[in-house]
């Protein structure tokens, strides 16, 4: 059976991403994971299939944090494999992929076809992840989406965040706010801190340029620049980079469906 349409679903900890693929075009959509991610994912898929049942999609690959909880997927694959493949599709030049998601950060070395050669992932703690940034944004009274657009004044006062631990870093941020340090300077320090953490982690796989920056935090341009600085490598991204996981999953689904 040759599939007509396949789907890739990336059930992340904060957002669910969906890619429909028919061998030619990709259609991406997303929604928040919310409290009931399985229902959210089903709803997202149903909407994308214009009200038809998930059975319309011939093959569905699920990936991400919540991949094992999705009842309607044909196959589950890890976000590491899918992100690499999706990043390879979006940014074919990439030799390394850095994905910063809600709960974890990973660095992946990939070959020309987007196949994983080596990878590292952060451990239990939230340092260097989207969660870290979100807690800090809250402490500053900002939305996480706005943080990347706020630029520090290069001549203004600078500060540092010394702690990698989310709880301690939050206290540091609150302390800085109370001392009257400008918000822009605190945000710059947070970006430096995350970029440092991720660059140190990525060193274990000996990253090669160019580095594709994907995942929920990839649209944060200030962080992208800091990453490039700390890695000493060029870091590229695209507006679609948040869909790297679901795109990779859809590409694997297409391949698998072709073999049915």
């Amino acid at each position: 059976m040759k599939a007509k349409i396949v789907a890739g679903i990336d059930a992340g900890s904060s957002a669910i991403k969906l890619t429909l693929y028919d061998g030619k075009t990709m259609a991406n959509s997303l929604c928040p994971a919310g409290w009931a991610p399985q229902e959210q994912a089903a709803g997202l898929l149903a909407a994308a299939l214009a009200g038809k049942s998930p059975a319309q999609a011939a093959y569905i690959v699920g990936t991400g944090y919540g991949r094992l909880g999705l009842p309607f997927v044909t196959k589950a694959m890890t976000e590491i494999t899918c992100h690499a493949r999706g990043a390879g599709y979006l940014l074919p030049a990439a030799r390394t992929v850095i994905d910063i998601g809600g709960q974890d950060a990973k660095a992946i070395r990939v070959d020309e076809a987007g196949k994983v050669e080596d990878f590292v992932m952060n451990d239990k703690c939230a340092a260097g992840t989207g969660r870290f940034l979100q807690v800090m944004a809250q402490a500053l009274g900002l939305a996480i989406a706005d943080i990347g657009a706020i630029e520090a004044d290069p001549d203004g006062p600078a500060c540092r965040i010394n702690s990698m631990c989310t709880v301690f870093a939050e206290s540091e941020v609150i302390g800085l706010v109370n001392r009257g340090v400008p918000r822009e300077a605190i945000i710059a320090a947070l970006h430096t801190s995350i970029a440092n953490r991720v660059a140190v982690m990525a060193a274990a796989i000996q990253p090669l340029p160019p580095v594709a920056f994907t995942g929920g935090v990839s649209q944060n341009q200030a962080l992208r620049r800091q990453l490039a600085l700390r890695l000493g490598l060029s870091v590229i991204t695209t507006g679609q980079a948040i869909f790297a996981g679901s795109i990779g999953a859809a590409l694997y689904a297409w391949e698998a469906a072709g073999q049915l």
Partner: protein
């Protein structure tokens, strides 16, 4: 079988002495030749950790915290009934733990050289073994003669040969036994009171396996990815990573850790003077506490070929500096020698990171295609 507390109590009542040790560097032939029962006390259970943390830093290796916790609370029957504990200065954590342990137990600490390469290291270690022999004789009120040593060497060499033979069946594809079952056998060996009966048990397992191989029975499907596990002691209770690997569909075809095969790969040379031969065999153990540690790399290289390994998983405990650092060395070595895929899993005895590790292991298997 009666529970371990009762069993040991009875054994002690019958006049038998009990010696506990924490590491495969402890020369077990000496204990056997002294007519005592030897048990490995290396704890690989989460139980014990909260009690261990009352005296030891929280960011210590879980093996040390668990071992100490079980010892200090009398929860480990083998520790409780031991007349003597043999410790070794293999890592700073254990070294300092033994210092605390001396406050409530008879502990003798063997001082390890830092390397197994130089003749001076070998001479020094021989002296340490000699000291232990004299101490055992005095403490257990016995004579350890060369004849007794030779007999003990033969018993333990035979056990090593059987273990090697058993491991050899995992060279098959499909494998006739899971890595988890293999680990249980290896682990069980630490708590044996009758070595001859144990040897018979292993022979029975071997004949069972031969039968399953002949019947074409498989513990894992043919073509399952073949994983070699190496790193820190990973016994029953701390076998989470081995379980995850097999739950993900791969086959663990070799457990190189000292809780696994590390202690069985070399025999004691039966042609040499016993004490010298014993010292030689034990010092040749390629533990990461040795600096440098080339033998571990050589052995891994050989095993990857012999067992047709698709990937190596290095388990390291949080807080174990030597294994954590050496993980980089192993990764680089494997890359340059055949480019064998490599994954380090740094963890502890808790279950909190099972999902994370599962993702990593799955991605590792997907990476091998």
């Amino acid at each position: 079988m009666a529970d371990a507390f009762t069993m040991l109590k009875d054994i002690k009542a019958a006049g038998k002495k009990v010696v506990g040790f924490y590491c495969v560097y402890a020369p077990q032939e000496l204990v056997l030749a002294a007519g005592a029962l030897g048990f490995s006390l290396c704890a690989t259970k989460e139980e014990g950790i909260p009690d261990g943390e009352k005296s030891l830093p929280r960011n210590f290796c879980p093996l040390i915290k668990s071992s100490y916790g079980l010892a200090v609370t009398d929860k480990c029957p083998y520790f409780l009934y031991a007349d003597l504990i043999i410790g070794e200065t293999t890592c700073d954590g254990k070294k300092k733990m033994f210092e605390l342990m001396k406050g409530f137990k008879a502990v003798h600490v063997m001082k390890m050289p830092q390397s197994y390469l130089a003749d001076s290291d070998k001479a020094y270690w021989l002296h340490e073994v000699q000291v232990l022999k004299e101490l055992l004789e005095a403490e257990l009120d016995t004579q350890i003669t060369d004849e007794k040593l030779q007999a003990a060497i033969q018993v333990l060499n035979e056990e090593r040969r059987l273990m090697q033979q058993l491991a050899g069946y995992l060279k098959n594809d499909p494998v006739p036994m899971t890595g988890q079952d293999f680990l249980k056998l290896l682990w069980g060996r630490n708590f044996v009171t009758d070595r001859a009966a144990f040897a018979e048990q292993i022979k029975a397992v071997i004949s069972d396996i031969e039968e399953s191989v002949a019947n074409g029975e498989a513990a894992r499907p043919q073509g399952a990815k073949r994983i070699l596990v190496t790193g820190v002691p990973t016994g029953v209770g701390a076998d989470k990573v081995i379980k995850i690997i097999e739950d993900c569909g791969a086959a663990v075809v070799y457990i190189e850790n000292c809780s696994g095969m590390k202690q069985y790969v070399t025999l004691v040379d039966e042609t040499k003077p016993p004490l010298t031969a014993i010292a030689e065999k034990y010092l040749a153990i390629p533990c990461s506490c040795m600096s440098p540690n080339p033998t571990r790399m050589e052995q891994l290289d050989q095993l990857v070929g012999e067992y047709r390994v698709d990937g190596v998983v290095d388990i390291t405990w949080q807080g174990c500096h030597t294994y954590n650092v050496e993980s980089r060395v192993v990764k680089e070595f494997l890359k340059q020698n055949g480019n064998t895929p490599f994954l380090q899993i740094e963890t502890d005895y808790s279950q909190g990171d099972v999902e994370q590790i599962t993702t990593r292991v799955q991605a590792f298997l997907e990476m091998m295609g």
